[in-house]
């Protein structure tokens, strides 16, 4: 195999260069980071929720989804439900050892730095500067990495469709652009949902806790979890009793892969040099062997 040194360097240069161009600049720019203070957010006060499921109903209406089953029928609460492709939000009931049962509305939390968006290889999941995490069906490949990544098990996939898409709450992004509140917040009869800017909602949540210290757990779920989420929750019983995970940590999920992604350009830089060195070394040794052989042809091959 004879390859000219010049060609060889060219190849190394090419492979390194193209790789570096591709990744150095982008490894850090993983999501558009809006200022979380000013982004759209929602405060869910579970102590106020009466479990009427109006939010489910209007959500289905504005998103053209089938009407939720068993509206007005308490038996729906006998089983825990999760969001589905046809239901972007669901309300579950949890027993309260010291009082009235607690109702919890679930939907996408619109994380400040969403795992789903940093998972998506075609930017079909996108964190908008305004706050909502939206989904572009026209881009989605259906790889479902967003579902693996989301710590809240929110995105759902249309398993029974030949041309499937992922479905989740997009915080009524279109309505927000028109200056309207999300349908759920606008129609909640118990004022359990308060829509606003994240900073203001945090103030309101804290005020409620300070003013009624006995009525609330002193924790705003979503203030720090996974780096902060757009949806914030208040409760009067410990959050773990409401099925909330307490072990998610406060580190934004994109950071978990950031280290790996920043190592990529390093590999692209160091590997060619290293391997090229190894090759040059073996090549030279071989040439030396060959000359030796040429000098003393009787020498036995080893």
């Amino acid at each position: 195999m004879d390859l000219k040194r010049r060609d060889f360097l060219k190849i190394i240069g090419l492979s390194t260069g193209s790789g570096l161009l591709g990744w150095v600049g982008t490894a850090n720019a993983y999501v558009t980071k809006p200022d979380p203070h000013d982004s759209a957010a929602m405060l869910v006060d579970t102590t106020r929720c009466v479990g009427c499921r109006t939010c489910e109903m209007v959500c289905a209406e504005v998103n053209n989804l089938p009407e939720p089953a068993l509206l007005g029928d308490e038996s729906i609460f006998e089983q825990k439900r999760t969001t589905e492709t046809y239901a972007h939000t669901v309300v579950n009931r949890y027993p309260n050892p010291t009082g009235e049962p607690v109702y919890v509305k679930t939907q996408c939390r619109h994380c400040n730095e969403p795992a789903c968006a940093s998972a998506c290889l075609v930017k079909a999941m996108e964190k908008t500067p305004e706050g909502p995490v939206v989904y572009h069906e026209e881009r989605c490949m259906g790889c479902r990495y967003c579902m693996v990544a989301c710590p809240f098990y929110i995105p759902k996939f249309e398993w029974s469709k030949a041309v499937p898409a992922v479905r989740k709450c997009i915080f009524c992004f279109e309505r927000q652009k028109e200056g309207l509140e999300p349908a759920c917040a606008e129609n909640c009869p118990a004022e359990a949902l308060k829509f606003g800017k994240r900073k203001e909602l945090l103030e309101i949540a804290r005020t409620r806790i300070y003013q009624n210290p006995d009525q609330y757990i002193h924790h705003i779920y979503g203030e720090h979890e996974v780096g902060g989420t757009g949806w914030l929750y208040l409760s009067n019983i410990p959050f773990e009793q409401l099925g909330f995970r307490m072990d998610l940590g406060t580190r934004p999920y994109p950071e978990f892969t950031k280290g790996f992604l920043t190592a990529v350009p390093l590999v692209l830089l160091i590997w060619p040099a290293l391997l090229g060195g190894v090759y040059a070394f073996t090549n030279q040794r071989e040439q030396m062997n060959n000359t030796e052989k040429a000098v003393s042809p009787i020498k036995k091959e080893v």
Binding site: A119, V148, W159
Partner: protein
Amino acid sequence: MAEYIQYPEKIYTPHLWIREKFLMGMSLSAYIKKQFTPFNVVAGLILLVGLPFIALRFSQGLAAVTNANSDYPWGFILSFGLFAGVPLAAGGYVLASTVYLFGLKQYHPLLRPAILTGFLGYFFAVVYLLIDLGRPWRLPYPMFIYYGPASVLFLVAWHVALYLSVQFLEFCPAIFEWLGTERFRRWAMRITIGATIFGVILSTLHQSALGALFLLAPGKLHPLWYSPLIPVFFFISSIFAGLSVVIAESTLSSRFFKDKADYHYLASLDNLTLGLGKAASVVLFTYFGLEVIGVAHGNHWALLGTPFGYWFLIEILMFVLLPCFLFAFGTQKKKVGLVRFTAFLTITGIIFNRLTVVLIALNWNLPHHEIPYWKEFVIVLTIITIHLLTFRWIVNRMPVLREHPDYKGM
């Protein structure tokens, strides 16, 4: 030994050319008659059942043939085909760097079959992926239309695509020798070193990136498997996976394609197998050490006493430490048979590990676990069958297990 293809200068009529290149030198009717072997009948039956299932998947959606659900977004087809398939296809880059970069020229006879195995491995990994993707026709999107470079999967997509092309280039000399186009062949040989180096870089990155995908699931993957080192685990294990597949493939090839192999290939096989076994033993030992560091780093010793811990111990002791010793013992005592057996054991271990990560250790804390639907197994079996048939088709025609008489020693 039957030699179907004759190489000397010869005036080809188109008729003769087709007969020699595609029909293995037989007339069409003789060729068709020869296809009725037990193996082919079984393969045909599998395809007869499996292909309709694949059609069903594209017309009715994944739910028609899989049990994948929103808690287990990645089912058996993907975890076997992509997550286990890609490390098992690592033989190409491992052997190419052995021969070209480290200059161990004696492994040359194994190189072409290794590159072919690697190329087909990646090719069919992409086939599994296409079956599993919601919208497979959008496969080029991350390449040309919408870029999500912050995603580890973006990196996997790019690197697998590039590496598939590199492996194709690496295999091109065999194709050109088969077709007898000397000029193209010389051109294809010239890029070998560059392709090898580029291939190693790409492999390092996408093998480890497959592991790094799970870095984004810290609350979901069981702590014994979730580790900041998981990219390194995936990369290192791809090395011994690749080595084992080269051993396994040569074991089977030397048995079933004996008439397609040359003396040189068959005669060198035992010694080379021992050499590969030794290398695999060293890499397995490194991997074992890293796994122990992983447990120590997370201080997960107590978890070893739980059911998931037993599962982890089975994996580490039976599929890592045991093959490590067996390879070492086998090469020491020159027991080629044992080394071959161990290669198959190691391959089982890799599949065990990748399926564990994707299907068992992921979402370990959810109350219910997904069990693949039997149709998923049929689909996988169908693709494996097509894979084997393709491999056979190529080996029967192109100079893979033998050197082309015109290009000996090149």
